[in-house]
C-alpha cells in the first residue's frame, strides 16, 4: 500500500464495478440463504420461524460432526499434500529444462478434466477386485496390503483425499511457477557470487521470496477443501455409511433430498464461520514467519 491519493473518486470508480456485481449477485443470495437458516422450510409449503432451532440441532447432529471431521482430513491432505508437492515440482521446472513446457502442461491436465472422468477412473483403480492398485500390490507379492480402498470406511476418506490432492496439484504448480518467475535474476546472481548455490539457495533465498505466495496457496487450499463437493459426490456419494461425507455434501443432501432448506442453510452458515476461523488462524501462524 503505497500511494496516497488526494481525491477519493478514482478509488470509488476502480472498486465500483467489482463491488456492485459482487454484492448484488453473490452477497445478496448468501445473506438470503442465511436468513433461511432461522426457518424450517421445505420449499413447497410455508416457512416457519424457529430462531436458532436449526443450530441447536446441528450441535447434536452426529452426522454433521462426522462430516466436519472428514472435511478436516481434506484440509490437511490439501495443505500437506498439494502445497509441498506443487512447490517441489515448481522448483524443478522453473529453471531452463529441456521439455519443461511439456511437463508444465501435463502437470496442469488434471485440473482441466471433469470430475466425472476422475471419479470413474480413480474408482476403477481403487476397485478391490480388479483395480490397478490391488493388482500391482498382488503382483509384487504384497498381498496383505491390498484393501477395499473405497468400500472400507477406514480407507475410503484417505483414498478420496489422495484423488483430490492429485487433481489440484497442477493448479498450485502454475501459481508457484508464476511467483517464481517473478524473482529477479539479480538476486540469484548476487547469491552465486556470495557462494551460496543449489539447495542452500532454495531454502534461504527462493522460499522466503515466495512466502507470500505460499500463504496464498494455503488459504486457497483451505477455502477450496472446505467447499469440496463435486469429486466426492460422484465418487462415493458420501458413503460407505457417512465415511466420506463432507459438509458441503451434507448441506446439499439436507437441502435437496430431505428438503429442509432451513437446516441446510444453517449448515452453510456453519461452514462459512468455520472456514473463516481456520483461515484466520493459519494467517496468524504463517505471517509470523515473514520477518
Amino acid at each position: 500500500m503505497h500511494l496516497f491519493i488526494q481525491k477519493k473518486w478514482p478509488i470509488l470508480i476502480g472498486l465500483a464495478p467489482a463491488l456492485i456485481v459482487y454484492i448484488l449477485f453473490a452477497i445478496v443470495p448468501i445473506v438470503i440463504s442465511f436468513y433461511y437458516s432461522s426457518m424450517e422450510w421445505d420449499g413447497f409449503t410455508e416457512m416457519k420461524f424457529i430462531g436458532i432451532g436449526n443450530f441447536l440441532e446441528i450441535f447434536s447432529d452426529k452426522i454433521f460432526w462426522q462430516s466436519l471431521k472428514n472435511n478436516l482430513y481434506v484440509v490437511a491432505a490439501s495443505i500437506f499434500g498439494q502445497v509441498p508437492i506443487a512447490l517441489f515440482f515448481a522448483l524443478l521446472l522453473y529453471r531452463k529444462l529441456r521439455g519443461g513446457k511439456f511437463f508444465r502442461t501435463v502437470g496442469f491436465m488434471p485440473v482441466v478434466i471433469s470430475t466425472v472422468i476422475i471419479s470413474l477412473i480413480w474408482g476403477m483403480m481403487y476397485n478391490s477386485r480388479r483395480g490397478l492398485f490391488n493388482q500391482l500390490l498382488t503382483a509384487t507379492g504384497l498381498d496383505e496390503w491390498t484393501q477395499n480402498w473405497l468400500g472400507d470406511p477406514k480407507w475410503a476418506m484417505i483414498s478420496v483425499c489422495i484423488t483430490i490432492v492429485w487433481q489440484f496439484v497442477g493448479l498450485y504448480l502454475i501459481i508457484f511457477l508464476a511467483a517464481l518467475q517473478n524473482i529477479p535474476r539479480e538476486i540469484f546472481d548476487a547469491a552465486e557470487i556470495d557462494g551460496a548455490s543449489g539447495f542452500k539457495q532454495t531454502i534461504y533465498i527462493t522460499l522466503p521470496m515466495i512466502w507470500e505466495t505460499i500463504i496464498v496457496a494455503v488459504i486457497l487450499c483451505i477455502s477450496g477443501s472446505l467447499r469440496t463437493f463435486d469429486l466426492i459426490y460422484v465418487m462415493t456419494s458420501g458413503g460407505p455409511g457417512h465415511a466420506t461425507e463432507v459438509m458441503a455434501m451434507y448441506m446439499f443432501d439436507q437441502t435437496f433430498s430431505s428438503t429442509r432448506y432451513g437446516y441446510g442453510s444453517a449448515i452453510s452458515l456453519c461452514i462459512f464461520f468455520f472456514s473463516l476461523a481456520l483461515i484466520y488462524v493459519s494467517n496468524l501462524i504463517l505471517r509470523r514467519k515473514t520477518v
Partner: protein, 291 residues
Amino acid sequence: MPEQVYHNILVQNKTAKVKKNAKKTLIYLLLSIYAVVNIYPIIWMVLNSFKSNIDFAKNPFSFPKEWLVQNYQTAWETARLDVYFLNSLIVSTIAVIFTVFFGALASYFLARISFKWGKYIYSFFIFGMLIPIHATLVPLFLQMKYLGLLNTHVGLVLPYIAFNLPITVFILTSFMKSFPTDIEESAIMDGCGVFRIFWSIILPMTRPALATVIILNFINNWNEFSFALVLINEESLKTLPLGLANFAGQFTTNYGAQMAGLTLAIIPTIIIYMILEEYLVKGMTAGAVKG
C-alpha cells in the same frame, strides 16, 4: 606437483559431472513419473471414448476391440453439442473477461493504494470464497426470477462474475502487492494519472497472475453446472455441462459416448491454457522500472 593437481582437478570435474548427470537423470525420472500419473486419465478417457459399453465393462484398461467412431456422433447429438458448445463459449468467455477486468481494477486499488477502507473491502471479497454455492441456488433463482433474468445468458454471466471475483481479487492482489514500491514513483513524477499507471505499468507486470486467473476463471465457468441447471430452461441457451449430464440415465449409461462428449469438452480448456502458457512463465518484462 602441478600434474598431480591438474589430475586431481580433472578427476574432481569428472565426478562433478557424473554427479550432475545423475542428478539430472533423477530429475527427469521424477518428472516422467509425474507426467504419466497426470496424463494417464486423459489418455484413458480418449481410448475409452471409442469403446462400446460391453467392451468398456469387460476391459476398462485396454485398447478398444473395435474403434467406434460413431460414439462421437452419438455424443454430438445426445449432448446437443452444436448449440450447447457455443452457449458455453459465449457465457464463459464473457464472464471471464468481465471478471478479470473488474477484478484487476479492484485489485490494483486494494494492493497499491492506501485508503481507509482498504483492508475491510479486501476481507469482504475473501468472504465470497467461503460459501458453498449450493446454498445460494434457491435465493439466486428467486432473485433472477424477480429481475426477469431467468433463461438469459446475462442471468448466468452475472453470478459467474460475482462468484469468481473473490478468488480473482485474492490472487491478483497478492501478486500486485509483491511489486517494489518505487515502480509508480517515476510515473507519478511524470504526471501520470492513477488509471494510466494501472493500465500501462501495473497491468503488464501482472501478466503471469492474469494468465492464471483467466485460466482458472475459464475452467470454473466452463465446467459450472448447478447454476446453469437452475437458471436456464430454454433449450437453445443451455450450456455444455448440462448436455454432458444427459448420458447418465438412472438405469442406463452410454459410457463410450459419454467419454466422447467429455473429450470434446476439454479441448477448449486445453487450447486456452496453451495460448496463455507463455504468459505464465514470463517474468517481469520490459516496461518495469529497472533496479
